[in-house]
């Protein structure tokens, strides 16, 4: 089936007139409608919108206009990216009925490339979580086993690609929210360099860490999606002016001579034996493909989780202040809420879930008079040390390899009552956000329970090309990416 063949194949077929965008769109809508009741991966499927976009692609083709790089490719975007006229909730009660009047830049670029947006995907509320269980609309489920988490926060975006409802989806990654669910669902997930993709229209969680990126069922599709998304945006002052290289031609160049750093000390503790075995096997494959393995040290990586939870919560406490019931979103019943203060309290109490409240309180505390130096400032100093760790490592190697997660996908409910355990699920992913580096998660095996395992490669600033090339090399030597979950 064409949906399983990936974005490049669909684009080529649509461009050649072998199939219409409308026909592909109908396939995707059918599969999404059939699988979503079991997966809960979409917050919202918008068939009208999708069919309109597909018809527009077909019209352009009939008129002989050039097909875009994603012409007719069905896509889904995480529900924290604004789509004009389409409900955008961040899986929060406080935005349950919010309809943005504008498109996020990433969404507008997909549209301009001819992609067909099927719907908005489930996630942890405001992207805060690692299991999707913090969604106000219930957790999405792992297509490989619905008792397990698809990961988070972009769990829905990973699940819909794994289930082959769409070949490409968008997520956002603040501490691992693309890479961890990609690993848990057995798909490719890329967190670009900070500033590579515009954040305009992404509902901010932690502004200095957030980055929009693609999920795909293979590396080539991920490269194609990134080439559509990347590049400067006058609406985002933190979006880099760095030129975007053509990522596709170099994908097949191989990795002979590539120096792969392995932080042995850092990845030695607390890693599940199945994950360790898959990781070690992947290192062997990389070496067989011509790469050199080099031991590196990231002495400050063990502080990454506490640093992350100070910086991210501080920024979040401020970013989420705008959800106050005044201009949009949920507002507490004015007859019950007497004073302005009460209106604020009740609106935010009713609108936000427990984890979001916990992080707002943590962040407020971190920035409070008398604590700022001890927490926020200290965390920023450690962030600088961590940046130096990576600079030193990249003086000797071209990429750094780690397992994406310490464990295979855990059970829904397994860690829901233990936030600290949940936070540790991000131990290997948060560093890339703290230092702004690009990182990719690639399928690298399965656990004994037939659940996917991922490997993470981190690269130099703006060097996504090397990560994709290494990923494509792994793909040619393994078949993990081609495995599809039983539901699909």
């Amino acid at each position: 089936m064409l949906l399983d063949a990936g974005a490049v194949a669909i684009r080529n077929a649509v461009a050649a007139g072998e199939v219409t965008a409308t026909a592909v769109c109908e396939m995707a809508l059918e599969r999404a409608a059939r699988l979503n009741p079991g997966l809960n991966a979409f917050n919202h499927i918008d068939a009208d919108h999708a069919l309109r976009q597909a018809a527009a692609v077909d019209d352009r083709r009939r008129r002989g206009e050039p097909a875009g790089p994603l012409a007719g490719v069905p896509v889904a975007v995480k529900d924290n990216l604004c789509v004009r006229g389409m409900r955008t909730t961040a899986s929060s009660r406080i935005l349950e009925r919010f309809v943005p009047p504008y498109d996020a830049t990433a969404v507008a670029r997909l549209d301009a490339a001819g992609a067909v947006l099927i719907g908005k995907t489930n996630c942890d509320e405001f992207a805060m979580g690692s299991s999707n269980e913090n969604s106000a609309f219930g957790a999405a489920r792992n297509p490989w086993n619905p008792a397990h988490t698809p990961g988070g926060s972009s769990g829905g975006s990973a699940a819909v690609v794994a289930a082959r409802c769409v070949p490409v989806s968008l997520g956002s990654d603040t501490g691992g929210s693309i890479r961890q669910p990609a690993a848990f669902c057995g798909v490719v997930g890329l967190k670009p360099t900070y500033g590579r993709v515009s954040r305009y229209g992404l509902l901010a969680f932690a502004s200095s860490l957030d980055q929009v990126g693609p999920f795909a069922s293979n590396v080539t599709d991920a490269a194609l999606a990134l080439s559509v998304l990347a590049g400067p945006d006058p609406m985002d002052a933190t979006c880099a002016h760095e030129p975007v290289p053509d990522l596709l031609p170099t994908l097949g160049d191989g990795i002979v001579g590539l120096r792969v750093g392995v932080p042995r000390a850092f990845v030695s503790e607390g890693v599940d034996p199945d994950v360790r075995a898959a990781f070690d096997a992947t290192l062997d494959i990389l070496r067989d493909a011509g790469a050199t393995l080099v031991d590196v040290e990231l002495p400050h990586a063990r502080y990454a989780i506490p640093v992350y939870y100070l910086v991210a919560t501080a920024e979040a406490s401020s970013n989420l202040a705008r959800y106050d019931g005044v201009r949009f979103g949920h507002r507490a019943d004015p007859s019950a809420a007497g004073t302005l203060r009460e209106m604020y309290f009740r609106t935010r109490d009713e609108g936000f879930g427990a984890e979001v409240k916990r992080r707002i309180m943590l962040g407020t505390y971190v920035l409070s008079a008398g604590y700022y130096d001890a927490f926020y400032l200290k965390a920023q100093q450690v962030r600088t040390l961590l940046r130096r760790d990576y600079e030193e490592a990249f003086a000797r190697v071209d990429v750094v390899a780690m397992p994406t997660t310490p464990t295979p996908p855990f059970l829904l409910g397994e860690k829901a009552d233990d936030p600290l355990q949940m936070y540790l699920a991000d131990i290997f992913t948060v560093s890339a956000n703290l230092v702004g580096l690009p990182a990719i998660s690639l399928p690298c095996g399965f656990s004994r329970e037939q659940l996917p395992i991922g490997v993470q490669l981190t690269g130099r600033r703006f060097d996504e090309a090397t990560l994709l090339r290494a990923g494509r090399t792994l793909e040619t030597r393994t078949s993990w990416h081609a495995a599809t979950p039983p539901v699909a």
Partner: protein
């Protein structure tokens, strides 16, 4: 006990940009509510700020005009607090690293000079407006207008260098002049584009340590500023005299009651939880940019005052008055260009022109008489065509009708009688009709000469050229 007041000011000035600080919306004042808004200035989810560099250039202008040190790198910060007209729940401002440090203004108050230093200038955005009044349901509801949300501001913070309410008012006046002069701010306090808060404390005369300071807000005119400081000094002195302690607090000036009222105590003060704004990179201002702004600056009031003394030979006082605003100085210079008589131009501008404008409550930009017309009038006086006293009437008519001076003089026959034969005829008539006075003059009573001159002027309807009339009358009396 005698106390010495210590006063510092914090002035918020809107920058006169076309568009807002962080989005492309218009900054025009007075548009219908919420008509100049977008996702960015409404703080919609996902919207991001992008710095308007026109605002930076205007902030740099202010910094250079006030002699500040421009900082090569400054950092935007978020000031977090909840208020309905603050859409994002934080204001983008600058905190630890503002765009400019130092600088100041020299004042002359009651003949004494005083230097008022600046602590800093930082950039920030304005909030929207809460409309608590004027709607049918205003008792139950507050309406919000976000047109002002995101309009760029600078906050200018002075050192505690002022010692009297008059110095406070004078500083604010001079500062306003500078900001308006360099095109940074429109000086409009009624519309709120220029706002002032005062920090006031008192200490026993002769002591160095500062007293507890009170911040007084809502001082939106020079008069209120002065009155509020006066009130606050007396209030604090009263508290201390009665053995009390001044509380550190924020007070609000109530102009109708003529007093300050407590707004919030130190304990109730906000913890703004400032931190660097992650959505905006550090603002880097290179030396070449500073120089470009400096090169585009108009002449500053202090420099122009010196030039007026040197170039036009004006007294320092005149130069001071004429350089109060850019437009007044420009009016003066155009008048001089038209007539070539700087002292006369200065007298007319400072005298009749400002008097008429003040009477009507008009600004120099609204003057009905153009500088070229005023120059024409001065030329008529200098050539002896009209007398100075007639000229005042002509000026009034110019103001009323907009006509040129020479046209009015011609139409109304106001030119002086400079024709000797015509004057002799009048003089002969006056001498014939006032035989007694003539006899007294000839008997040595010189004072009657003035009376006879008056009679000649009366006989000509005031149009006699006074110099010529004097000369001919004396001749006639001596010959007779």
């Amino acid at each position: 006990m005698r106390y010495e007041p210590v006063i510092g000011l914090e002035i918020h000035a809107q920058l006169q940009t076309q568009t807002k600080a962080f989005c492309g919306c218009s900054t025009r004042f007075g548009a219908s509510p919420n008509s100049q808004v977008c996702p960015v200035c409404l703080g919609l989810p996902g919207a991001l700020p992008v710095l308007n560099h026109e605002a930076v250039d205007l902030a740099l202008r202010a910094a250079l005009a006030l002699g500040c040190e421009v900082q090569p790198t400054s950092i935007f910060a978020r000031k977090n607090y909840f208020y309905p007209d603050l859409p994002k729940g934080y204001q983008i401002s600058q905190f630890e690293r503002p765009i400019a440090l130092g600088g100041g203004l020299r004042l002359t108050v009651d003949g004494a000079e005083r230097w008022v230093g600046l602590t800093r200038i930082h950039m920030e955005e304005d909030a929207g407006k809460s409309l608590h009044e004027g709607f049918l349901d205003s008792e139950r509801r507050t309406y919000l207008d976000f047109n002002r949300s995101g309009v760029p501001l600078i906050e200018i913070v002075t050192e505690p260098d002022m010692r009297t309410p008059a110095e406070g008012a004078e500083f604010f006046t001079r500062l306003r002049d500078v900001l308006v002069w360099i095109g940074v701010n429109d000086g409009n306090m009624e519309e709120g584009s220029l706002r002032c808060d005062a920090n006031v404390s008192i200490r026993p005369a002769g002591r160095d340590a500062f007293g507890t300071k009170v911040e007084v807000k809502n001082l939106n005119s020079f008069r209120y500023l002065q009155k509020a400081i006066e009130f606050e000094i007396e209030r604090q002195a009263d508290v201390l005299d009665r053995g009390g302690r001044v509380l550190q607090e924020t007070r609000l000036w109530d102009s109708s009651a003529g007093r300050t009222l407590s707004m919030r105590s130190k304990e109730e003060a906000h913890d703004y939880r400032y931190f660097p704004e992650p959505d905006l990179p550090p603002l880097v201002v290179g030396a070449s940019r500073v120089e470009a702004v400096r090169a585009s600056m108009p002449e500053l009031p202090a420099a122009r005052r010196v030039r007026f003394v040197d170039q036009y030979g004006l007294p320092d006082y005149d130069a001071g008055v004429l350089t109060q605003s850019a437009s007044l100085a420009a009016y003066f210079e155009r008048t001089v260009a038209a007539c070539g008589n700087a002292k006369a131009a200065s007298n007319w501008v400072m005298g009749e022109l400002l008097r008429v404008l003040n009477e009507r409550g008009e600004g120099i930009g609204e003057a009905a008489v153009s500088p070229e017309s005023l120059g024409g009038l001065i030329q008529l006086i200098d050539r002896g065509t009209i007398s100075s006293s007639i000229a005042k009437d002509v000026f009034a008519r110019m103001h009323a009708t907009g006509a040129a001076a020479d046209a009015i003089v011609a139409a109304e026959g106001l030119a002086q009688i400079g024709d000797e034969a015509a004057l002799r005829t009048v003089i002969d008539e006056v001498l014939a009709a006032n035989g007694d006075a003539v006899a007294q003059y000839r008997a040595g009573k010189a004072a009657t000469f003035g009376f006879l001159v008056g009679q000649v002027m009366k006989g000509t309807g005031g149009k006699a050229n006074p110099k010529l009339a004097n000369q001919l009358l004396r001749q006639a009396l001596e010959q007779g």
